[in-house]
């Protein structure tokens, strides 16, 4: 694993890893192509385009066509990585994602760039807090939400090698390296990052390092919090969720709507298998104007907010 460039005091932009890994994959396999919607810059694919202009298929601002073209490229033997802001990829082109990629079961890799509230002040038209809920019923579309450069690279390498549709959520928010306990990513396998018995915090993506920070705060208060990396939304590690319920209280944390995403998936699993008190940290719906940091703070997607949710879940199990 090559080192990603640090952007600020030990923080990384996973798009840099995305760009570097795509070039590495393309060097090794000429079937790899990228498909973009005038998003070469925002996907950080300028270097890729310079090296392989003919393998950079820019359809312009036309997301429905972009996803259909991806499916067609797969039909013609290519391995297309369709890279576009997640709000437009999963919103504007949702029917193409459903019919041309998932239902047709084509070898297309969808890369949802700058998901969640990454576009901050630009507002809910450009936010993608719905993507996980929209994609989750597409059961054969493997869906991963990487948390840091290491996991991003592993997810992309997995996607390239896997024969079938994959969605990778590519965040731009600066994140620290997460101390992973595993190498690579195995579909449907959660990763227990920290043991704990009082409460389990299930998180992924940008929120994973914040869940670890919340566990530190809780430990200082004598609360033992398990932290589980639920990078795979689909397939979901049902066993890990049921195990988490063994602590008696569960908190989900995601940079997404609390309806239908990780929180929804975990709630379904708990209700069907092992109901325990649960709290969901995420966004309740369209968010007001504000920077990313303001919105994270405002809605409690912080170490303090997560630990407060954990204490609330614990208090409910003692009722």
């Amino acid at each position: 694993m090559s080192a990603a460039p640090k952007i600020d005091a030990g923080l990384y932009d996973c798009r840099d890893t995305f760009a570097r890994t795509m070039e590495s994959l393309a060097e090794a396999d000429e079937r790899i192509v990228v498909v973009v919607n005038d998003s070469v810059g925002s996907s950080k694919l300028g270097g890729f385009k310079k090296r392989w202009p003919e393998r950079t298929i820019n359809v312009g601002i036309a997301e429905q066509n972009m996803v259909g073209v991806g499916a067609g490229l797969a039909n013609g033997g290519k391995i297309p990585f369709v890279s576009c802001a997640s709000c437009f990829l999963t919103g504007r082109a949702l029917e193409q994602v459903k019919a041309d990629v998932a239902y047709s079961n084509t070898n297309v890799k969808l890369c949802g760039q700058s998901p969640g509230i990454a576009y901050g002040e630009l507002g809910p038209t450009h936010h993608s807090i719905e993507d996980l809920a929209w994609l989750r019923p597409l059961t054969n579309l493997l869906t991963i939400v990487p948390s840091d450069p290491e996991e991003m690279e592993a997810a992309l390498r997995f996607a390239a090698a896997y024969e079938g549709p994959v969605f990778v959520r590519v965040s731009r928010y600066p994140v620290p390296a997460v101390p992973h306990t595993r190498v690579g990513v195995e579909p449907g396998k959660a990763e227990v990052l920290r043991a704990g018995d009082d409460v389990a915090i299930l998180a992924h993506g940008v929120m994973l390092s914040r869940a670890l920070a919340a566990a530190d705060r809780l430990a200082a208060e004598g609360v033992s919090a398990r932290v589980v990396n639920m990078a795979w939304m689909n397939p979901l590690d049902v066993g890990a969720v049921i195990d988490a319920a063994g602590t008696g209280a569960v908190v989900t944390v995601e940079e997404a709507s609390v309806r239908g995403g990780l929180g929804g998936a975990v709630a379904e699993t708990l209700a069907l298998n092992r109901p325990v008190p649960m709290e969901m940290v995420g966004f309740p719906g369209f968010v007001p104007t504000g920077s990313v940091d303001f919105l994270f703070e405002h809605f409690g997607l912080t170490a303090a907010g997560i630990s407060a949710a954990a204490l609330k879940a614990i208090s409910r199990k003692r009722q």
Binding site: V33, E54, R55, I57, V59, G60, A62, Q64, N65, M66, V67, G68, V69, G70, A71, G72, L73, A74, N75, G76, G77, K78, P80, E95, Q96, A99, D100, Y103, S104, N105, T106
Partner: protein, 282 residues
């Protein structure tokens, strides 16, 4: 391995006779399926039958025994609701037994109301929602160009379907990339589900639209087998742009009481209508 036309190629008048016979076979099979299932879209099956017969029995290179051969010509049925005709031509071409057509839309059948590439050989992509075929065809054609392959890509759209904006996104890309091995065929029967296209959201001048998007355009009688074979079979190496064939057709073509009648978009026949139609389809 290079692919040849399957079944064995024939030429001249024999070829036109073969296509005519297959088109009739498509109509008879499709209407039987629709009658038995009491479901389907027979009007559009009939308007497309001659285009399908021409492609599969006079133009395309494919091998039903190797349906995903990398060098095959691709056909995409973008008007995916017309599975009566599409499944029939696939069966007649040898992709699966004709007897399987009897299962059309029956519980757990591989012959779903709209085509699924994972259920049956010969289907390139799952269609049904309109405006999906052309973008996929554009991707296939770009892949062929990147790989230096000489396969051709054909896509058949309805005319009402062209009201979907995704078609024009794809058309713009096809023109931009000068995808000369891509052919769009418009089944121009001038009727959509509820009314005439021109009374709903008019498409004319349709040829000018395609030209403006960078296509070479041919307007032909979509039931004239000689014209279809001539235009669809022309060597694309002679063009530097994609081809759009506007096939002027008649919805319900071949059965007197169905022709140009919007109620047969998804109308289904009773026993008397079925018997009358089969008498005419000879």
């Amino acid at each position: 391995m290079s692919l040849t036309l399957a079944p064995a190629p024939v030429s001249g008048a024999d070829r036109i006779d073969l296509v005519r016979a297959k088109a009739l076979g498509i109509r008879r099979c499709a209407f039987t399926m629709v009658h038995d299932a009491q479901l389907g879209h027979p009007g559009g099956d009939f308007s497309a039958a001659d285009v399908l017969a021409s492609l599969y029995f006079g133009v395309m290179r494919y091998d039903p025994a190797e349906p995903r051969h990398p060098d095959r010509d691709r056909f995409i049925m973008s008007k995916g609701h017309c599975t009566g005709a599409f499944y029939s031509v696939l069966a007649l071409a040898g992709y699966f037994p004709e007897a399987q057509l009897k299962t059309y839309m029956q519980p757990l059948s591989k012959l779903n109301g709209h085509p699924n590439r994972n259920y049956l050989p010969g289907i390139e992509t799952n269609t049904g929602p309109l405006g999906h075929g052309l973008p996929v065809a554009v991707g296939i054609a770009i892949a062929g160009k990147l790989s230096g392959k000489d396969y051709r890509t054909f896509v058949l759209t309805g005319d009402g379907e062209l009201q979907e904006g995704s078609n024009w996104e794809a058309a713009m890309a096809a023109g931009h990339h000068r995808l000369n091995r891509l052919t769009v065929i418009v089944d121009r029967n001038r009727l959509q589900q509820g009314d005439r296209t021109e009374s709903t959201n008019g498409l004319d001048p349709l040829d000018d639209k395609w030209r403006a998007f960078g296509f070479h355009v041919e307007m032909i009688d979509g039931h004239d087998h000689a014209a279809l074979l001539d235009v669809l079979g022309a060597d694309p190496a002679g063009r530097d742009k994609p081809l759009c064939v506007i096939a002027n057709t008649i919805k319900g073509k071949g059965v007197s009481f169905m022709e140009d009648n919007v109620s047969w978009h998804h109308g289904v026949p009773n026993a008397d209508q079925f018997a009358q139609a089969m008498k005419e389809l000879i």
